[in-house]
Structures are given as C-alpha cells and as structure tokens.
Symmetry: C2
Subunit: 258 residues, 2 copies
Amino acid sequence: MTDVALDPDRSVGTLYRKVAADLREAITSGSYGEAGRLPAEGALAERYGVSRGTVRQALAVLRADGLVTSRRGTRRVVLGNARVQSFSELLSFTHWARSMGEEPGGRLESLLRRPADAAEREQLRLEPGAEVYVTLRLRTLSGTPVMVERTVYPSWVGELVAQLPADVVSHTEPLREHGILFTDADHTIDVVAANADDARLLGCRRGSPLLRERRRTTDPTGIPVEWSQDRYLPGTVAFSIHNSLASSALSRHAREGD
Amino acid sequence: MTDVALDPDRSVGTLYRKVAADLREAITSGSYGEAGRLPAEGALAERYGVSRGTVRQALAVLRADGLVTSRRGTRRVVLGNARVQSFSELLSFTHWARSMGEEPGGRLESLLRRPADAAEREQLRLEPGAEVYVTLRLRTLSGTPVMVERTVYPSWVGELVAQLPADVVSHTEPLREHGILFTDADHTIDVVAANADDARLLGCRRGSPLLRERRRTTDPTGIPVEWSQDRYLPGTVAFSIHNSLASSALSRHAREGD
DNA sequence: TAGTGGTCTAGACCACCGT
DNA sequence: CGGTGGTCTAGACCACTAG
C-alpha cells in the first residue's frame, strides 16, 4: 500500500504534523485497540510516502502527549485513546475553557501602575525604578466564579493591557496581534489560604484552601512578559501532567549519590 | 576549532547526550550569560565534530528542560541557568527529595491485600475479582512528615512490595531490579481536605487543606503498575513545570467526579 | 535470527530574522 | 540580503526484543 491521502487541511502545514494528526485520529478512534501495537516506523513511512525521519518526528509528538510508548526492539504500544489535547490550553485560561465547552468570562476588578518591588523586578528582569502594571481579575466559567488572577506586566506590555476593555475575555489574543507572544512558561502549583479579596470575589470563607498556580511567561526571545498568580476554587480545576522517563531521562542517571 | 574533547564518562553513552551535558554545564556555569545567545547549530556541530542532526537532538533536550528557547531565524536564547531537574522527579519521591539535598524517609503504616473495587480495576485495568495490595506510607524529609502516600498495586507487583522492609526508602528502585519499570505516568494535582488518618500522621487538623497528587504509572508496555494518591502538607512542596508552546507535557482539565 | 526502534550522518530546501 | 533554525530525505549501523 502506498501514499495514504493526508487531509491537506489537517493541522498546520508541516508534513510530520499531518502524519501525527492522522495517527492521533486513528488511535483515539480505536483503530489499534486499547493496548495495541502501532505499525513499524518503516511501514508507516511507506504508507504515508514520507521518510522514516518524518515518521519519527510525528511519533515524538504523540509520545509527548502520552498517547504511545516506545521501546527499542518492540513496536510502539498504544497507552490511551482519550487523552486531553494539551499545549496552548495551559497558557490561556480562555482557550482551556473553550476546549471544554465552557464559556469563559473575565471581569477586571482593578488595574494600577506603580514601581516594581524587588520580587517583581527579579521575576520580570526589570531595572530598579521600572514600573509595572498590576491587574486583578475575576475569572468565570459559564458565569460561575472559579479563579482570581493577579498579573504583573512590565510596562511595555501593561500599556497595551490597560487599553483593553474591562470585560475582555482573553488578554493573550489581543496582545498577540500587537506582536507580543506567550511561548514559554514556568509554573509552580501549591496550596494557599484565601485572603479577604479572594473570599469576597470567589464567595468562599477567608482562610479556606485555594489551589494556586504561579506562572512566569516569556516570549520567544526569553524576555518575561507576565508574572501571574492564579487562585482557583477547589473542585473547579485540576492540573494534569503526563511524563515519561524514557523521553527525558537524558538528565543525570548516576547510580547513586546524586 | 574542531572537536572539543567530550568527557567520555559524561552522562550515558550516546553522543547527543554528551553534547547536551556539555552544553548544559556551559549554560549553567554562565558561559553564555543570563539572556545570551548560543552559537549556531552548524558552529556547534563543527565544534563537537558531530552532524547537525545530533546537535539538534542535544538542543531538544535542553529546550525540554526549559534552558533555552528556539526561534527560526535567530540563534537560541538562554532562558535560565539554575533550573531544577524537572520531569523524572515526578516519578519518584525519593529521587526528588535527594535532588533537593533533603534526606527522604518512609514508614509503612499499613499493608493489606483485598479484592479491587471498580475504580481500582478501571485504573489498573484488572479483571473482575482480581486482588490488589494497598499500602499506606508516611513520607518524611529529613525526619519531618510531609506526605501521606496511598498506593494500590496489582497483585503481581504487590507481592514484591509486600516483601520489602517496612522502612525501605524507595520502592521503585528494588522493583526495578525485579524487572518492573516505572516509565510513564499520568498525574493529577488538586486540593483535598485532610481526613482523620491524614491529620494523625501529618500532625495537622482534620479538614485542613492538603495538596493532592494522584498518579497512575505504567511500564514500557503500557501495563499499569501502580495507582497512587499522595497528600502533601501545604508549604512543604510545590509542583514545578516548564512548558513551551512548541512542546508541552502539561494540560489542565476540569475536575471530574473522581 | 529477524525485526524493531535508537542513533548518527550528509546532504537539501525553505521560512523567518535581522541588517 | 546572509545567517539562522525548521523540515525532510536516504541511507547506515547498532542495541534490544522476541520467537
């Protein structure tokens, strides 16, 4: 068999993404079974009319999403067939909400401009005396409050944010149109007690536990574009991670000591 | 300049890992500055005496760890120079603790064997009537209680766990020597209230918030080997994740009814 | 032993960035 | 425009798995 027709509209333009999308659909539709085996790389290369390298690139995508394993000597095994699509969801509350079929909402509670404190200068790599914009927003899903978002922007970003309507749903989308890209992020997740503002906005008691996500986002050049702290009502959200030893074991594997 | 000497003991045997390790050291030691630029792929290939493909493989490693960005048309930018080892930590409390310079400890509180309930059969893909081993362990860092771990093992794994000493620090290490590998894991992180056992073991009040990590781990063939639920005292740990638009391992999803 | 994925090479063309 | 990273090809050898 040669050259399966690849939907030209599928995903973005590159070949390996098209192959990955096609394989993903085959897997999630159950074509290979729940714990079944994928065809060999060479067979897939022939089927799609591409080189083995391109097939491997496509399979790397599926593996990063936790769809398949890979081991030397054996065909790849299907891990699951109902995984969430990952990626940009995490970088944007709006995208995440919509992908779940929920209607995201946002209301700006306050916005102010002031000099950055030491921690903010550290996180955003600002010079002493630099100013930042600080926003406080209540985020909703289908009208229900779920999260309080405190974001600190460097002034060159904040100036644009300040011009957005108070009820704009997405911040990242209009910023992207101004050439400001959110591409890399560091996240820290822990628990924190609700303060007075949290309690008022979310309708919970002071001191009740909230799931906190702190996030520093940079653009492709490594320049920080936001430092945000989101506090979620328990039960409204959970963070999900997939990881694989094989793919990232490249770190140190010393036998002991460290 | 040609062929920089690569430490033959560095990391594991493959070329790209050696290159990655060498570059990581150069970056973390500040050779390229905080937001500096890396040499071009071609230059690195020449320097190390390898092909450009191998250099790209090495750089993919550093990028997955959040050390560098990459953009078409521009040299790679150094993002940070002091990042913690991220991914594999999630697979093992012991490794994570040691990587932080803390001394991990564990005490087995209870171990029992019983028929799996519906949820456990679902998670571990067991047949009706199958039995599981359930453990309850208190985990400590340098002697201080930080986490309660409830793990469900399929019987073929549990039989081995049951033979381990009650105070063994790591479970995954002795299991690996029996050929049981923990390679892929799905994690879900949220908040939960402490129950009576949690409160007693961790020394907190009933109902006080705990950070919960649920984890299902599989071996390379996709067979589930454990289903675990860890409850951390607030302030003792935070989960840290790095992701970029191009390749991500983290996603967020609505909380389902357990 | 045959088949598989992991690694590596040496080229090629293109899209994009900055000058 | 030249330099860069992103993609893709066509081969090669090896380490490992399984029958």
